[in-house]
């Protein structure tokens, strides 16, 4: 097909719009000056400051733990939900179930956060559990909305899955559960990995829901960052952002390469 000039230029402009702010943020993280936007020489001092900030480090550690835990819970729940939705064509309440699984995807964060907080408060006064709010309640909240994302990712993989592979395994003597672990699981593994990673980053990223359901002394990293940047630009946040962007870029790169490599193999 003949190619015009409009699309490439539009795409180039779009991508520069996406990346220019990030690039400038990374550049200014190496700026020596406290005034973030005035360049006065290369320096790593904001990185040093970052690693000497116990509040920041504590919040980061807490966020990582929460992200890992909730991504793992979401992986199990989301995979089960996806299996149910793809494989069980008809069951009672299927529509309600499908709605419950996908609704957290589009539910505004403020509603999710508020509703879970009100639930936890009500549960505490009726059941005496959970006592207070903190890491546990954040993990529960994050696992809930991450389940929806994992489910979507796994669902699409299971959707292209050739059922005759499972039938072949059963035909050769493997009972259903064995078939799931021998055949289904290895083949959908890339989707599970990306589902977990997605859950992990979403949890690491969440400010609004965590603000509602966290308790005193359990401030996550986004909460700390938010309270800092609300007051203005601070160069150590630039440093932190650069580190996070670096890690994510490497991770996504690795994941893309793995997916591209595994593609011809899984498409038979």
């Amino acid at each position: 097909m003949r190619k015009g000039w409009f699309l490439p230029i539009a795409a180039a402009l779009g991508f520069s719009f996406l990346y220019a702010p990030i690039v400038s943020l990374v550049i200014f993280s190496f700026n020596e000056n406290r005034l973030v936007t005035v360049w006065s020489g290369f320096s790593l001092k904001w990185y040093g400051e970052l690693f000497n900030d116990p509040q920041m480090l504590g919040a980061a550690w807490l966020s990582l733990q929460i992200a890992a835990l909730s991504a793992t819970i979401a992986l199990v729940l989301g995979t089960l939900a996806a299996v149910a939705l793809v494989r069980f064509r008809r069951f009672k309440g299927r529509t309600l179930f499908a709605g419950m699984v996908s609704a957290p995807l589009v539910m505004p964060d403020v509603i999710t956060g508020l509703s879970l907080l009100l639930l936890f408060v009500a549960m505490e006064s009726i059941l005496g559990w959970p006592q207070g709010r903190g890491m546990l309640t954040i993990v529960i909240a994050h696992a809930t909305f991450c389940t929806a994302y994992v489910c979507v990712v796994v669902q699409s993989r299971l959707g292209d899955f050739d059922r005759s592979l499972e039938e072949a395994a059963m035909d050769l003597g493997a009972p259903p559960v064995r078939t799931f672990f021998d055949i289904t699981l290895p083949i959908i593994a890339p989707a599970l990995v990306s589902g977990w990673l997605l859950g992990f980053t979403l949890s690491l990223d969440d400010l609004v829901i965590a603000s509602f359901v966290s308790g005193p002394g359990s401030s996550t990293l986004p909460m700390v960052i938010f309270s800092k940047v609300r007051l203005g630009v601070s160069p150590d946040v630039n440093a932190l952002a650069t580190i996070i962007i670096g890690i994510v870029a490497l991770g996504v790169l690795a994941a893309t390469i793995i997916q591209l490599r595994s593609k011809p193999r899984t498409q038979i």
Binding site: A11, L18, P21, I22, F97, V248, V252
Partner: protein, 316 residues
């Protein structure tokens, strides 16, 4: 198990999965139920019931104490009494602040969605029409920001648009006066477009990439100019992607809190921010719950549109 051949000995190992399955089947639990049990219970307790709780508390009144709302059910000399207050909802409709916040949220989300569509469509189309090698790289570049922190991307924008930010320094080189961008509705639009652009591009790309090139060739062959081909062939066929992408931007943008509070000014009214302030600043939980319920009503129609469009995007 039947032996298939004299040379195959009967299985010696006890197969644990068989035993587990048989055991559970005896108690009347099928594999299906086990698969469904955990996600159903979890979503029931942590998704559906909370929404019911929100609705319940929206019918309570604020009070001082813990919890800071009046109980719905009270026992008075052995009889259970149900007390419902509608004053939160009455306030929503009578207080100009709330009405204005709702309208302004819808307006801001709608305008931002249209801009995102205008920016995202050419990008999605360019990616869909690029060579295989480039397509994967460009797609990754779209997805990459989605994985970087949302909060930090909004923060990156503040550094860009501030009075002495990158843009103003840049245009200052050419002798222009610095622009006031931060703390305006404009900044909020830019923020929404910037952060939600990947949500628009991905469904658009999915529908556009499935369009057969021969469709365009056939259209051109029948005498259509490129603009006509786009208007009568490409655009109608990508409509599910347009709707899905637009709803994926519009719905979360309505309830957005971070963008208006970091980029918007004090007069930027958005309902997510109102809810946040009602809850954290005024600690009026019942009022916040009522705001949430009203917000749900606003997003229900877009959510249904989205579900339908998403089905069409995946199907084709």
């Amino acid at each position: 198990m039947t032996t298939r051949d004299p040379t195959i000995p009967p299985p010696r190992r006890l197969k644990p999965w068989n035993a587990v399955e048989r055991g559970l089947a005896r108690v009347g639990i099928s594999g299906r139920m086990l698969v469904l049990l955990a996600p159903v219970l979890w979503l029931l307790v942590f998704f559906l019931i909370p929404l019911a709780v929100v609705f319940g508390i929206s019918l309570a009144n604020k009070q001082f104490g813990r919890p800071p709302y009046t109980p719905l059910l009270t026992t008075d000399e052995g009889t259970v009494q149900l007390t419902l207050h509608l004053n939160n909802y009455i306030r929503l409709f009578t207080d100009n602040l709330y009405v204005a916040a709702y309208l302004s949220s819808i307006r801001i989300a709608a305008i931002a969605t249209v801009i995102t569509l205008l920016v995202g469509y050419p990008m999605a189309y360019a990616i869909a029409r690029s060579s295989d090698r480039w397509r994967n790289i460009l797609l990754m570049l779209v997805i990459l920001p989605f994985f970087t922190s949302f909060l930090l991307r909004v923060y990156a924008l503040t550094g860009f648009m501030r009075g002495n930010g990158v843009i103003n320094q840049f245009i200052g080189l050419f002798g222009f006066e610095p622009l006031v961008m931060m703390q305006t509705d404009f900044a909020v639009y830019v923020g929404i477009v910037y952060t939600y652009l990947p949500f628009m591009i991905l469904p658009l790309y999915t529908t556009l990439v499935k369009l057969d090139v021969s469709l365009f060739e056939a259209s051109a062959d029948l005498g259509a100019r490129p603009i006509h081909t786009f208007l009568f062939i490409t655009l109608p066929l990508s409509l599910p992607g347009v709707i899905a992408g637009s709803m994926l931007v519009f719905i979360p943008a309505i309830g957005e809190f971070v963008i208006p509070s970091l980029l918007g000014g004090p007069e930027t009214l958005m309902i997510g921010r109102v809810l946040w302030d009602e809850f954290f600043t005024n600690t009026n939980w019942p009022r916040a719950a009522a705001v949430a319920c009203a917000m749900l009503v606003v997003v229900v129609v877009p959510i249904m549109l989205l579900q339908k469009a998403q089905g069409a995007v995946v199907e084709k």
